[in-house]
Each structure stands twice: as C-alpha cells, then as structure tokens.
Symmetry: C2
Subunit: 203 residues, 2 copies
DNA sequence: CAGTCAACTGAACGTACAGTCAGTCTAGGC
DNA sequence: GCCTAGACTGACTGTACGTTCAGTTGACTG
C-alpha cells in the first residue's frame, strides 16, 4: 500500500467514525453532511470524494458498526465450552457489546432509523451480513441440539429470536422501563431463552 | 354534539386515517403533508386547522394506530380460560392483529421510524399508553403465576419480552427471513416463550 | 524552480417541503 | 335575499440540506 493509499484509507475511517458519532449524538434526522464534515474536520465536498451520496455514507457507517459488533460477538465464542455454558457466554457477550454501543444503537432501535429498501444493493448487503451472523449463532445452537442439550427447535428461528430478545431487553433499558443492573438483565434473558416462563413439568 | 362538531370529528378521523395510509405506503421519509392532504381529499392548509405541525399529526396517527391494536388485543382476552390457554390465546390474537396491520407496522419496526424525544409531551404520552398495555399483560401473567402455572418471573419483564418476541417474529417475516405459515410462526413463539429452548429436565 | 496533478475546499445552487395567509366558499341567521 | 363567521383553499414563502464545481493547495517530478 502506497503512502497515499494509507492516507486515503485513514480519511475514510475518520469520516465513517465521525458519521457514527454524529448519528449517536443527533439521531438519524439530525445527521447532516455538514455535521459529519465538521465532526471529521474535513470540508463538505471531501465527503463526496469518498461516498457517492449521503445514503451511501450512512449505510456504510451503520454496516460497519454492525459488522464490528457481530465480529466481536463471534470472537468471544469459545467452542470448547459445554453447550449451555457456551450459549450463555454468547448471550452475555452480545449483551455487553450492545450495551457498550448503546448510543449508536439507540438511533437504530428506538426513535428514527434507517430508510432502506429491502430490494436494492444496500438492503441486500445488510441482509447478507446479518444472515451470516444468524447462521453462525444457528450453528452454535445446532451443535447444542446435536449434543442433546437443546430441544430440536429450528435453529435459525431460535437464533433470530434470541437476537430480538437481547435487542428488546436493551430497548427496555433505553425506554427507561428497566433499571436493574446490566448483569441481572442479561441473566433474565438467558433464563427466559433457555427455560421459558412456564413451570417446568417433569419430562 | 352539534352538527358542526360531528363534521369536524369526521374530518379529523379522515385525516388521521389518510396519514396512516400514507405512512404505510411511503414509509416515514415519504410521508409529506402534501401527500396526506391529497390522500384525505383536503387542502394542505386544512390539515393545519386540525394539527399544529407535521410531527403533531404523525404522532397522533401512530398513537391512534397503536391504541387500536392494543385495545383489540385486550378485547380478545377471556379471563375465564385456564391460565396457559389464556396466555396462548392472547399471543395468537396479538400475532394476528399485528400481522393484519403489517403495512402500518412496517414503517415502525423496520426501515425508518419515528423521531420522538422520550422526554417531551408526545414521548410521555406514548409511554403512558404502552405502559398501560404492558400492565394489562403483566396482570394476566401474574394471575397465572398466582395459580402456579408460571414460574415466579418478573411479570413486567416477561410482558415486555413477549411483545418483543411477537414483534420480532413479525419483523422476521417482513425481512423475508421466514416464509412459514402465520399460525406455525405464532405457535413457535408461544412454545419458545413458555418453554424456552432447553431440553426440559425432570423437575 | 516551474509544472503537473490529485486531493481538498466551501460558496453557490437546486430542490423538497413545512408552514402561512389572503382570498373564496357556504351555511345559517336576520 | 343579503350578511357574516369561520371552515377551507392552494399559491407562495422561507429554509434546511444534499449535491456540485471552479478554484486553491501542496506534494512530487524533472
């Protein structure tokens, strides 16, 4: 990589990071090119040297954020753990990761959000990244099923619902409907996901 | 109520209904006062006789939509049912209701969404309505706990998570990640909520 | 040191809308 | 049948913001 390429790469990162900070601070509506340019310390026009449009920039920034979070979750996986422990560990990790990105996530899961067309290149890109992640979680669940630790539930369904439960639990915090410590919250999700709410009958 | 009041009330309903149709069709970004006016068959200025701003209109329309759906769920409740049957019935009802409003909900749960400040009058109004609903669901769960059908879980937590699971399941459909028949989907949520995914050990 | 070129700048442009208001219409009272 | 109040209209205004592009900068070359 030449020196110029390094600088360009650095600028790109800087603009993406600035975009995410602006999104976290001003929500989607308040995210303007002017603000991102100011935050990144570049002129408005410069942004258009790196991104073809505002949508392009926003999509890239969000995608990057999600990708990082998913990668971090996957990195925290330890395949040598016992199945249930492994799942519990993944849930706690993702919970922690989502919580530490809550300013960024806030603009995605409460208040205003993305304007994305499911059909269309960016939408498909999102779905591809997300599906990869779901497949990873599903494979972990599947291996637990194979080992007899889980009921033979559809692993993709369970993976999706698990994500929704974690995000939902975070949303509950952001809506100020929960004030319990983070760990207690995460444990409650683990418990609910594994055991449900019904009184456990004798199998 | 005088004749004029009846007419004004009718206009108000018409504008709110038009706003919801426009939201469902064009998503939040594409919802303009011009479009709502055209859809309602009134002039732009007329809308400002009934609502003080675009935000005011949008908030009122969304609130009305949510209120109706919640009321319909509550109406479907039958307190004489056995606890688990009663919960199952509520889940299936809400699932059906959400599914039949999916065009409207789509703009709220995927793609772009509301720009609402949690503090501030509209935000507090939303939370009040939503909390009422959660309290209702929680009371149903509590009565099942009292009867020994459910584990002694925090009922407000469970009520919230249940809502997230149902909405999440609908989101999965909207994202085209599920194509199973609606009933099968709803049943899977019931099952997951009640029993979790773990193999049921002998109590 | 002059010349070249790509990166960068930010004033200016165009547009899409929210919101306004002078004017029109109509129903009901006198 | 005229008058008035207030509901309604829609052309117009103001503005915020995405996008552009003519000009500037500065690093490298010969």
């Amino acid at each position: 990589m030449t020196k110029e390429e390094v600088i360009k790469e650095y600028r790109l990162r800087e603009i993406l990071a600035a975009a995410r900070r602006v999104m976290a601070r001003y929500a989607m509506q308040g995210t303007t090119i002017d603000r991102v340019a100011e935050e990144a310390g570049v002129a408005k026009g410069t942004i258009y040297l790196y991104f073809s449009s505002k949508d392009d920039l926003v999509h890239a920034a969000v995608l990057e954020g999600l990708r990082e979070m998913m990668a971090e979750t996957i990195r925290s996986d330890d395949p040598t753990m016992a199945p249930l422990e492994r799942i519990r560990n993944l849930i706690l990790s993702q919970y922690r990761i989502e919580a530490s990105n809550q300013d960024f996530l806030k603009t995605l899961i409460i208040g205003n959000s993305l304007d994305i067309e499911l059909e269309g290149a960016p939408g498909r890109e999102f779905m591809r990244v997300y599906s990869d992640f779901l497949n990873f979680i599903a494979s972990v669940l599947q291996s637990a099923i194979d080992r007899g630790a889980l009921r033979p539930i559809d692993p993709l369904f369970a993976a999706f619902m698990l994500g929704e439960m974690i995000t939902g639990s975070l949303r509950r915090r952001l809506l100020k409907l929960a004030s319990s410590p983070l760990e207690a919250d995460a444990d409650a999700v683990v418990e609910l996901f594994l055991k449900g709410i019904q009184v456990i009958p004798c199998a």
